[in-house]
Structures are given as C-alpha cells and as structure tokens.
C-alpha cells in the first residue's frame, strides 16, 4: 500500500471526491493528487480504484 500523502491528517480533495473514494473503497489518503498543488480529483480516485482492482488488491 502506498504511503499516506496526507499531512496532519488532511486530505486535499473536495467532499464529493472523498465520498466517491468511500463508494469505490479507495483510501483517499493514499491517492496521488493530480490537481493544483496535488489536490485529489474525482479522476484520481477512479484511477486509483481501477489500479487497485487490476492489481488484485481488495478494497477495504
């Protein structure tokens, strides 16, 4: 599992992206953000979900 990219427990992502992560079973703290200053976008979350599935990782 990737190292948490969240500093001080903060994840920089919109509430909708955070909810999407929960829906897809992705730990958003481990997602690399492609938005401004590393903000995590919906697309990042979806990509992480697909990568997770492809890699056979089971989402929590």
């Amino acid at each position: 599992p990737a190292e948490s990219s969240a500093k001080g427990g903060r994840v920089f992502a919109a509430p909708s992206a955070r909810r999407l992560a929960r829906e897809l079973g992705v730990d958003i703290a481990t997602v690399e953000g492609s938005g401004p200053s590393g903000r995590v976008t919906d697309a990042d979350v979806r990509q992480a979900a697909e990568a997770g599935e492809a890699g056979g990782e089971t989402a929590e």
């Binding site: 500093k7 001080g8 903060r10 919109a14 509430p15 909810r19 829906e23 401004p36 200053s37 903000r39």
Partner: protein, 474 residues
C-alpha cells in the same frame, strides 16, 4: 392516547428532537427507513427553544435598540424604549414558528412522532414514559437507535437554578424584565453573548470568570476585540475569580467570589446568571441497560460513522462530545441516518465552523496558525482589518479582522479566524475553501462583490500571498 405498556417496533428510533435528533430522523425517513422520534419536551431541542434561536433573537433586538440609540454620529437621534415582555413575546413567536416547522417537516417526511421520555430496557428496546397522569408508557423495539438527548446547563455549588435569582441561560432567555444589575458567572460564548444583550438593553453587567480571559479556546487577539468592545459597553470583568456563593438581601443579592489564593470579593446585583458550561444528558437514559458507557465527562464515544461501542446504536450531537454546536449535531445526525441506510457516509469533514454572536461576532473554521504548525505545516498567514474595509465603514462597524491561515508550500487554505461584522456569515466561504482544497490563489482570484465584507476574505488571502491591494503587505 396509549395507556399501559404496549409494544411497537421501528427500524430507526431517534431519542431527542434537537438539531441532532430531528435532522437524523428526517434523513432516515427520507431514505425510506421506518423511523420513530421520541421527544419528552419541545421539538427543536435546546437550540430552537432555549439556545441558538432565542439568544440570536434577543441579540437582534438589543443591537437594533442600542445602535439606534447611539447613532448621533450618523445623524440619527433616537431614544428607544424596550418593552422586554414584548421582545420576549416576539422571540416566543419566532421559536413557535420554527418548532412548529420542525414538527411539520418530521411528519411530512413520514417520521412517527412519540411524546415521552425514553430509557433503554436493553440493547434493542426502550421504554417510553408518557408524561402526565394516566398516560402510561410503551416499549419500542428498534433495529437501530440514534441517541440525541443533548445537554443541560451545569450548576456550580451554592447556585441552584431552582432559586429565582439564579438564572440558567434558559431562564435568562425567558425574563420579562431587564435586571438593573446582573452578575454573569462565566465568560464563555454563552456568558458573553448574554452579557452583551443585557448590557445593550441597559443592565449593569459584571462578569466573573475563573480563567484569566474571555472566550477560552479563541486566540488572544480575537478574544481581545470582543472584550474591548464589551468593556466599552460598560461590562465589568473580573478574571481569576470563581463564584463561591450568594445571599439574598431582600432588595438585592450579593454574589461572592474567591480567587485561587482565597481572596474574596462580592458584587451586589438583582440576578446572577450562571453560564459555566453544559453537560451531556446521558445519566437519565438507562445507558447501562444497553451496555453503553460514557467517559468521565458523560459523553458517549463514537466513531467516524457516529456509531457507539454497541452494535446498532449511534450517538449524535451534544451527547457525542465537543464541539457542542447545533450544526455539528445535525451533521452527525445525517451521517448516522445514511450509515443506517447502508450508504458510504462518514464524518470526514475537514472543519466545523463555529460562531460567537457577540459584538462583534466571531467566526472561525479550521486551523489557527499554531494548530497548523502543530500539524506539521509551515503556515503562512494573511490578515485584513475591517477598519480598511469600505463596506465595514459604511455599516459603522469596523472592529476586528479576517485572518486566513494556509500552508506555505502548497497554498492550501487551512483555516480562518474572523472577528467583526457578520463574521458568522463570512466564515462560510472559508469553510468551503477548506473543504474544497482551495488555495490562497483560488480565494484571491475569485471575484468578490464590491462593496462587501466578504472582500476582506479575498484581501486576507492576497495579504498572505504578499500582494494585497488594500493593506500593506508583510
């Protein structure tokens, strides 16, 4: 009318119809769950009946009367007379309309309403005692329960709310007169809001506080703005003094205080308002029957889904811990309901804003500079004083400032502290910025209407970036 102990069942049982409970019940019903809401007293809980709403109503009234009576500089000459009984009636009307609205919304969403006091029989049922003679009780079995029984004002030794002269915040919000002299014990937000109201309505207010400043929990420079203004309204502060007792002198009362070193002082007054904090209502619920425990302060511990340690039982609002704020409770209520409905909901907000409706108001959200440092950020801070805001000047209220705290490296907005006019409203934009992962640049590049107080948020962000227009940059 139900007499005797009959038994019914429900998918979701919510105990308490304050902003935690009624919101949870409405959302649960919206999600198609069979939902029952038990309330022993009035819909809307503390907030609508004895807290947020009545206090804010009086604050409006007191501000209007005070401002109009002190606007010679603007060319307005008035000497407003306040009829406290009538102001109370207006306040009651507002409360009634809102609590009636809550009841209607519950019904319209299909929530079953039960009047009575609930206590746990075991981890899947409660007994509801219908108040009043011959009204009996009923047992309600539940699949899921949301505890939202709120909080009550703390008493201190020697001061019983049962006595006429000793006022809880609830009593103070029900007065039909303005006391000539009022001693307020506690300079937290409730004490400060009510002190300001009564001072503006003409009372001589003395505030006694054990700690050494007003509004503990707020930064010094934020609290100072409110304290200075309170002093200019004639409020007399005594810090480092704990209220130790009072006695009735017939015409008046004398409140005695003591410092840590045992030094005594006494203050003559008509009434004494005790506003030293609130404790969760968890001792009258039979929690032990459900296998639930509380921490030493009486709070029920919950997780990110508002779940307690007992399967199927949730707790939201003031019983679930600090901050004891209405919107925190409502947020938890929504999450609890959605979790029960099987949705991937969680308390994953980045920040809960908080407001104090003093003069001026305070609105804060997210991290202070010190907190940001503690969390491992290198904070950059920008500030804008309201006395440089055109809009503030045109309202005649220029005390205070907006401060924005951000992460230097990424520019992400981490927090905001606002003290000044409409601070409670202005903080909403900062809260959205924090939730969205907005940067200082995002705040600065969002066009803000002129002339508004909200421009100050943009200016503070620009100041943090070293490119403010209307202040000199650091």
């Amino acid at each position: 009318m139900v007499v005797g102990d009959i038994s019914t069942g429900t998918e979701v049982l919510v105990i308490g119809a304050g902003p935690g409970g009624y919101v949870a019940a409405i959302r649960a019903a919206q999600k198609g769950l069979d939902t029952t809401l038990v309330e022993k007293d009035a819909y809307g809980g503390t907030c609508l009946n004895h807290g947020c709403i009545p206090s804010k109503a009086y604050i409006t009234g007191a501000n209007l009367a005070y401002d109009a009576g002190n606007a010679e500089e603007m060319g307005i000459h008035a000497d407003p007379a306040v009829d406290m009984a009538a102001m109370r009636e207006w306040k009651d009307g507002v409360v009634d309309q809102l609590t009636g609205g809550v009841e209607k919304l519950c019904k319209a969403n299909g929530v079953n309403l039960v009047k009575g006091t609930a206590s746990f029989k075991d981890e899947s049922s409660v007994r509801v005692a219908h108040g009043g003679e011959g009204q009996g009780s009923e047992t309600i079995e539940f699949e899921h329960c949301i505890i939202a029984t709120g909080s009550r004002p703390m008493q201190i030794p020697g001061f019983e709310f049962a006595d006429d002269e000793v006022l809880s915040s609830r009593d103070a919000l029900g007065l039909e007169y303005v006391p000539n002299r009022l001693v307020v014990v506690g300079a937290g937000y409730i004490g400060m809001e009510l002190s300001t109201v009564f001072a503006k309505l003409g009372a001589d207010v003395t505030v006694v506080e054990m700690l050494d400043d007003v509004l503990p929990g707020y930064e010094d420079d934020v609290a100072r703005v409110v304290k200075k203004r309170a002093e200019s309204l004639g409020i007399d502060f005594h810090f480092g003094e704990g209220a130790s007792g009072w006695e009735d002198n017939g015409d008046a009362i004398t409140v005695t205080t003591e410092t840590e070193d045992g030094e005594e002082s006494s203050y003559v007054a008509d009434d004494v308002l005790v506003a030293v904090g609130r404790s969760p209502v968890t001792d009258t619920l039979g929690l032990e029957n459900a296998g639930l425990e509380t921490d030493e302060r009486g709070f029920i511990e919950t997780d990110e889904q508002a779940r307690t340690a007992v399967e199927g039982i949730f707790a939201v609002g003031d019983v679930a811990g600090e901050p004891m704020l209405a919107h925190k409770g409502s947020t938890e209520g929504i999450v609890a309901a959605e979790v029960i409905a099987g949705e991937p909901a969680a308390l994953d907000y980045q920040a809960i804003p908080a407001a104090v409706f003093t003069d001026p108001e305070i609105g804060t959200v997210g991290m202070t500079e010190a907190e940001a440092e503690e969390m491992g950020f290198t904070p950059v801070v920008g500030q804008f004083p309201f006395n440089a805001s055109g809009r503030a000047m045109t309202t005649g209220h220029t005390d205070g400032f907006v401060r924005i705290v951000a992460d230097e490296e990424s520019g992400f907005v981490l927090g905001g502290q606002i003290v000044g006019p409409e601070a409670s409203e202005l903080v909403a934009e900062v809260a959205l910025a924090i939730e969205m992962g907005a940067t200082l640049e995002d705040l600065a590049a969002t066009v803000h209407t002129h002339p508004t107080l909200a421009e100050s948020v943009m200016e503070a962000a620009e100041n943090a970036m070293g490119q403010a227009i209307h202040t000199l940059n650091r």
